[in-house]
């Protein structure tokens, strides 16, 4: 039954991610700020869930499912490679640094909230 918890959680997470990514067409920023915020916020949420949710099933639904489906690593690296091919090396490096540093910090902050 655990696959249902993971699957449903991830579907909701992915839907929210899609809704937010749709906004990036409206924001005329030349930087993948939406994916950045999604990943940071998802890591923060997972930290909070890891610290406060103790029921195994609920943690699978919220953590492995929702947060796992909400955040994405494939799109992150695809956007990084796009910046690289466009020879926007500074932006590429900045996106790298912001995602990984604030992302990991986000999880640590979440776990201590």
């Amino acid at each position: 039954m655990t696959f249902l918890l993971v699957g449903f959680g991830a579907s909701i997470g992915a839907f929210f991610r899609n809704e937010l990514t749709a906004l990036s067409q409206k924001i005329k920023w030349d930087f993948p700020v939406i994916t950045l915020l999604i990943n940071i916020f998802g890591a923060l949420l997972l930290g909070i869930f890891t610290a406060h949710v103790h029921a195994g099933g609920l943690l699978l639904f919220l953590g492995t499912g929702f947060c796992g489906g909400f955040t994405t690593y494939g799109t992150l690296n695809m956007e990084l490679s796009q910046l690289w091919f466009q020879r926007r090396f500074f932006r590429c490096f900045l996106y790298f640094a912001l995602t990984y540093i604030i992302g990991i910090l986000g999880f640590i902050i979440g776990i201590h909230l």
Binding site: N18, T21, A43, T71, L80
Partner: protein
Amino acid sequence: MLFYNNWGEKMQKIKTFLIIFIGAFIGSNLRYGESLLLKSSNGFPYGTLVANLSGALVLPFLIHYLQDRYHLSSKIILALSTGLLGSYTTFSTFTADTYRLYQSGSWMMLIIYLTITIIGGFICALLGNYWAATRAFIDYAGRRNN
């Protein structure tokens, strides 16, 4: 974005949700299955790593090659890229794995995991792009010779 004022828009959202649902359900469980299958005694997160790296490789190939090659509709792309590969790969679990390795003092594994995730995923995405370009070129050359 989450508030809809008419019925048509509401139906459209439900449709989008169902399309993403199918992809995300499969993708997340592939990742979950890999994490169970590749569970190691030393606590190294092979599952997350395999899911993330393979997803990072396939996503550019899907977008830059398969989409054009098989004339995939926007719905199929939504299910496969946003749904399946988006949920198959994960960033949040990576941060949790990193923190766990740090907490347990497994410095060597932490450094290896960080390096492979940060550099390896990027290289996989670059390779995915080259793979797509190469396949597209082979198809093009093949058509010209016929």
